[in-house]
Amino acid sequence: MSELAHGTGSHLPAAEVPEMELPHPHGWWSTYVFSQDAKVIGIQYSFTALAIGSVALVLSWLMRLQLGFPGTFSFIDPQAYLQFITMHGMIMVVYLLTALFLGGFGNYLIPLMLGARDMVFPFVNMLSYWVYLLAVLVLVASFFVPGGPTGAGWTLYPPQAILSGTPGREWGIVLMLLSLCLFIVGFTMGGLNYVVTVLQARTRGMTLMRMPLTIWGIFTATVMALLAFPALFVGAVMMLLDRLLGTSFFMPTLVEMGQQLRYGGGSPILFQHLFWFFGHPEVYIVALPAFGIVSDLISTHARRNIFGYRMMVWAIVVIGALSFVVWAHHMYVSGMNPWFGFFFATTTLIIAIPTAIKVYNWLLTLWRGNIHLNTPMLFALGFIVTFVNGGLTGLFLGNVVVDVPLSDTMFVVAHFHMVMGVAPVMVIFGGIYHWYPKVTGRMLGETMGRIHFWITFLGAYAIFFPMHYLGLLGMPRRYHEIGETSFVPESAHDLNAFISVMALVVGAAQILFLFNLFWSLRRGREAGPNPWRATTLEWQTPETPPGHGNWGRELPVVYRWAYDYAVPGAADDFVPQNQKLPPPLHVARGEATA
């Protein structure tokens, strides 16, 4: 083990990199707006994602008002309800979670954590953000066009998505598909940057197996996204052609409201395969950065090395690879060849094994640690609870025959919100509380943070845990109201009302968080360069917040892995990655050098 934690590297000279390689800004516009500095781009991504995410949050209130108190709000008709759920889902999955983890955290942290000056292609990186912003604006525009945004559900299944029984058929679906295409173009520019930077721009001594798990998570997720998003791109382009030019990629012969349409010969189920070939890896594109970040949060705040680092890295890579062969578990009741069920159920349940290993290793990192319950740590613990809960219900839905009664019910809604809604959002909050001091030089208000955590965690759990049981009962999803239904008891309506009230409470707590973000900018406690006493490179910058180029004249040199907490023989309870001393473990132990 010691060769991993304390490999050779003590002989490495400091790397001097000439300053003029970087495109330095010349004035306000190129410093804060059209900046090529990955840190600024990361902040731009984060703000845009949080802004559009707030829209999704408001949409979730509206849909919960309708579900909890059906018929009370006259402006929410069935069409509007479908538009709310569609836009909420798409915004959260793609425009918030993907953009924030990869574009936000990725941009800010990759160069800093690897000891690089910037991304390798700063101009393309800047372009990536502006195309993303354009995608967001096109998406927002669909709220203001005739007919409003599409209400096809975030899965956009044809033929329904482009037929007139679905709201937003005129403009909404076209703008949605265009926006997705733009997003993918923008992401590809950023994604290539992240991958090449990780592979090519690491500082001396930063071997792949010394990278913090945050970087492993973001890197693997980016590779996956580069492979998965093209499937969605192709699907979106084909559906645009079906909608605008009358082609029939996804459209069989059909009769709509008594009228024979001029489509014929296409396959609706082809779209589902393309969508989920993207859609399932997408779950892990969101989850892997969360896995990585939460590992670092737990290790830092428990003052203990991450347990089983090599296993953690391999688990990330294996999960990433396996996630490409499980997509059709979203389609068990789609009418595809039923024999697929055996294959996809098996691969899906196998993924549980590396995922479980990660959970064990987080727990074993806490065990015999020295746990500081700072706000980032609280969110990390909240992540473990919600992720384990949501992951375990995945074992119901992944096990083909169990999925049959549960699919398309509220059980599914509860499952994926717990596992890829609440859990990753917990990590996003934890990550923001953790790195805000580096970004701004000030700490986020700790009391506000705790209040924010407990309301968000307990509230979200109270929303989504009981929701599973509505699904068991048989309540279908995507219904604007269940109405009089023979098998639904009166108490289920009460539970729905309770869930809606909790949703409003959790939503209100997010306003506190936004307030904290702005309040602490001026009033927060001065952070200093390394308030959490962390080992990774971003905390070792000469300036806080780091300047353009990150490192001043000399790049840091890395001598050790990212998890030297409580090393025996070291005076402090942490040893930064770029610190040469104390001596390697075997010397400290008095063992002979091999």
């Binding site: 209400g151 159920a345 083909v400 699919s407 279908p476 907490y565």
Partner: protein, 265 residues
Amino acid sequence: MTAALIFVLVAVGSVVFHLLSPWWWTPIASNWDYIDATITITFWITGIVFVAVVLFMAYCVFRFRARAGRRAAFEPENKRLEVWLTVATALGVAAMLAPGLFVWSRFISVPADATEVEIVGQQWRWSYRLPGADGRLGAVETRLINPENPLGLVRDDAAGQDDIIIEAENLHLPIGRPVKVLLRSIDVLHNFYVPEFRAKMDMIPGSVTYFWFTPTRTGTFEVLCAELCGAGHAVMRGRVVVQTEAEHHAWLQGQRSFAQLAERR
């Protein structure tokens, strides 16, 4: 301390909620109690894991909370423990997957004596077609659908003449006889869903999908659409009436065949 206690309460509270919940699956009305059994096994395994994980986490938060002078243990890896945990997890997964796949193989093997019944979905209602005396359903084509021929039967197919067409009415099924449900849509995706039967499957325009089940309980059961099909999705309802053989026979006498309907028009 408080935090650890709250996490314990979350774990215990979840179990208590599960045990006391008035919201549970509907009384079953088909042969698929295998599925319910697999769900029960899965609940046990996942429930134990969930409670164990959260309680262990809470224990760590309490036992290893930061105190002056405490230092964490430095232990990067523990091969034996990691292997042991991996094997235990694999066994747990296998214990859920094996019954799951076994039941799935039943689910996709339709008994030879199953009666075929066609269900047609369209925005936003259900229609049904039963084979007549010949026991066979006639050919259909979506292109042939018009107000006179709403299900698109091929007019000169002999097998279709005695097919019984049921529109805007309940489907009736005899108890105790396996049914192979053939699912067809003429516009968008739908999904024929009766919670009490447990089985469900999407309907896809351009293809015919299927599932099978045996009704085991008489009564009237509500049909819902379980695949988003547009603005009327939530109101796309119907009813299935499961009756004794004799009752079903009597009902059948009152229904009209394709040929009879064509004559009237």
